[in-house]
């Protein structure tokens, strides 16, 4: 217990104090954008991880991230909503959509489910291109930055437009959301429902035979997963102030899945670590120019051969040895 507490404190100190201090010391404020992206993408990956947890391979998270982004952008631009209100609405919209889509497709298993979700990403992109409200390939641009939040006349969060460096504000916002999402995930996995979900991963028929309502349970897990996807998409458009049909594509969906694999499917914090390593690794290799993809993919193959159960399985090796 104390070990976990120390881990949590170290982690909080690292993201809230060490990272900003390091960035201030090196003067590379553009790194804030990188870490904001990592935080947001790891929220979406956390959703994918949850579907892995019930034994489904989900390559469709890009669809919900795109949907969440568009819901938020449309509400802000056409209906004059505040950015803050659009966040939960985008998440809930995606969760509702995923319940409708999930009921039929969650009956599929294995590669069939994986492929349907992959196609779902493509369907969402084509829909964003075809629907009139999404403005086609031109997308929705120059979305205003988030406004202030005040409670009883007290300003809790200042207007992002008046800030000297809104990047820092977005960094803190995304990191806080990430921590909240992973806290929810951790609590869920270690609850009674989480243990039942684990039984789905191993044998659905057996779970069903002892009275587990598997249909409701997997739809619930999928809805939470999509909520995370929509939330991260909505915050993303706040940070980039624009959204296009190509903002989240099949590549992103596959990356969300790879983040989970790389971190480790058996560990709640696997997607967070996986996103950090993959995203930073890809960006660090940028200087290698044309060899970027070659080195990146070779490293991935080697990692898979050495640690097929994810980076976090390194710890369990040590304990065993």
């Amino acid at each position: 217990m104390t070990k976990k507490l120390i881990g949590l404190v170290v982690f909080l100190l690292a993201v809230f104090i060490a990272v900003p201090m390091l960035i201030a010391a090196t003067g590379r404020t553009d790194l804030y954008y990188v870490f904001t992206s990592v935080a947001l993408l790891s929220i979406a990956s956390a959703g994918v991880w949850l579907t892995f947890f019930i034994g489904r391979i989900n390559i469709g998270q890009g669809a919900y991230a795109l949907m969440g982004g568009y819901v938020s952008a449309i509400l802000i631009m056409y209906y004059g909503w505040s950015f803050w209100w659009t966040l939960p609405v985008a998440g809930i919209f995606c969760a509702a959509a995923s319940i409708l889509i999930g009921f039929p497709i969650l009956r599929l298993r294995g590669v069939y489910f994986a492929m349907v979700t992959l196609i779902l990403t493509e369907v969402m992109r084509l829909l964003a291109l075809a629907l009139p409200i999404t403005n086609g390939a031109k997308g929705i641009t120059s979305i205003p930055p988030p406004g202030p939040i005040s409670l009883f006349g007290m300003t809790l969060v200042p207007d992002f437009a008046t800030l000297q460096n809104p990047r820092i504000a977005f960094y803190y916002l995304s990191v806080m959301l990430m921590i909240a999402c992973f806290a929810v995930l951790y609590r869920l996995v270690h609850s009674r429902i989480g243990h039942i979900c684990m039984s789905l991963q191993q044998n659905e028929e057996l779970a069903s035979s002892i009275g587990v309502n598997i249909a409701a349970l997997r739809v619930m897990a999928y809805a939470i997963s999509s909520f995370f996807g929509g939330l991260s998409g909505a915050v993303f458009i706040g940070a980039t102030q624009s959204i296009y049909p190509s903002s989240f594509t099949v590549t992103d969906s596959v990356n969300f899945m790879l983040n989970c694999f790389l971190g480790g499917l058996g560990y709640v914090f696997g997607p967070m670590l996986g996103t950090l390593v993959l995203y930073l690794g890809w960006n660090l290799l940028f200087s290698t120019g044309e060899f970027q993809l070659l080195i990146y993919s070779t490293a991935m193959i080697v990692l898979m051969l050495v640690l097929p159960n994810g980076l976090l399985s390194l710890g369990s090796f040590k304990r065993r040895g």
Partner: protein
């Protein structure tokens, strides 16, 4: 002089004949791609993300041997097939087998497959560049009869593809290797207990699947050309085909290939003005179809 209504129906019929001919041609190619993918899936439960990239590599090898070095087309296509078979065999032996043995969850092979897809993409981009590559026509002339217009090279390639499909079915049905692989796909443990050398036949199966991808790539480079960016989209199309037909089943892959070829051919004609809407309709139809029939047309349950 025929009235306007007669002219219209005449045109529709003409158009349909053309569309069906195109659909059959496309379907034969697609079926071959899907066969390789479904073979690998049926034997190892591995969804080979790199299948489209293998197809592209086959295309580039034929482009080099036939287009650049000037050797006969048949030699070039055979070169493509053999190279890909060797690569496939090595991939199974040194990559997939290791990961399957050491991983707790079977799905981990998907990450490996995706990584090899990236790897192939990177290598082909470095070696062959990003330009669209084509080769000289293998046969000149156009077949123009019965209201169907088809260049002769398309007919030839379509026929070769059909022969390859029949050959593959015969191979799976009548040879010892084919029988062993079918047994493996049905029940791995039972096959092993009956004395089938599981490791050896899995490797042969993977090599054979990769070889099929290489052969189609080599054949099609003479018609559509090839460029290093189309691997991913081809993989997705191949996934769709095996899902329509049912993953891991030979007849399903063939059916899926022809159905998708026909749908594309008809869709692109009927919905020509709307462009991407064709794929939107195909995708949406596929999702509805799969939620009604989760195993495709003839798939085994829970493949």
């Amino acid at each position: 002089m025929p009235g306007p209504s007669i002219t219209f129906t005449w045109w529709i019929r003409r158009l349909m004949e053309q569309v069906i001919a195109n659909g059959l041609f496309l379907g034969a190619q697609y079926a071959l791609i899907a066969l390789g993918l479904t073979l690998i899936f049926g034997l190892m439960n591995v969804l080979n993300f790199a299948h489209g990239q293998m197809y592209v590599l086959g295309g580039f090898i034929t482009y080099t041997v036939y287009g650049q070095l000037g050797l006969p087309f048949a030699v070039a296509v055979i070169c493509s097939g053999i190279t890909l078979a060797v690569i496939g065999g090595f991939m199974e032996r040194y990559l997939f087998r290791t990961v399957i043995r050491r991983s707790h969850r079977e799905e981990s092979t998907m990450m490996l497959a995706a990584a090899t897809a990236f790897f192939f993409d990177a290598v082909m981009l470095l070696v062959f560049g990003e330009k669209q590559r084509g080769v000289p026509k293998i046969v000149k002339g156009v077949f123009n009869n019965f209201g169907v217009i088809l260049p002769y090279d398309r007919i030839l390639v379509g026929l070769i593809a059909a022969i390859l499909i029949l050959g593959f079915i015969a191979f799976m049905k009548y040879t010892k290797t084919g029988r062993a692989m079918r047994a493996l796909a049905q029940d791995r443990v039972a096959a092993q207990l009956m004395g089938v050398e599981v490791d050896r036949y899995t490797m042969i199966g993977f090599a054979l699947g990769a070889m099929l991808a290489g052969l189609v790539g080599g054949l099609l480079v003479s018609i559509t050309g090839v460029n290093s960016g189309i691997g991913g989209p081809i993989s997705i199309k191949a996934f769709m085909m095996i899902m329509i037909g049912g993953a891991g089943v030979v007849s399903g892959a063939i059916a899926g290939g022809f159905i998708l070829g026909m749908m594309e051919s008809v869709g692109l004609t009927v919905l020509r003005e709307y462009g991407d809407v064709t794929y939107l309709v195909i995708f949406a139809a596929l999702m509805v179809f799969l939620s009604i029939r989760p195993n495709g047309l003839m798939g085994k349950p829970w493949g």
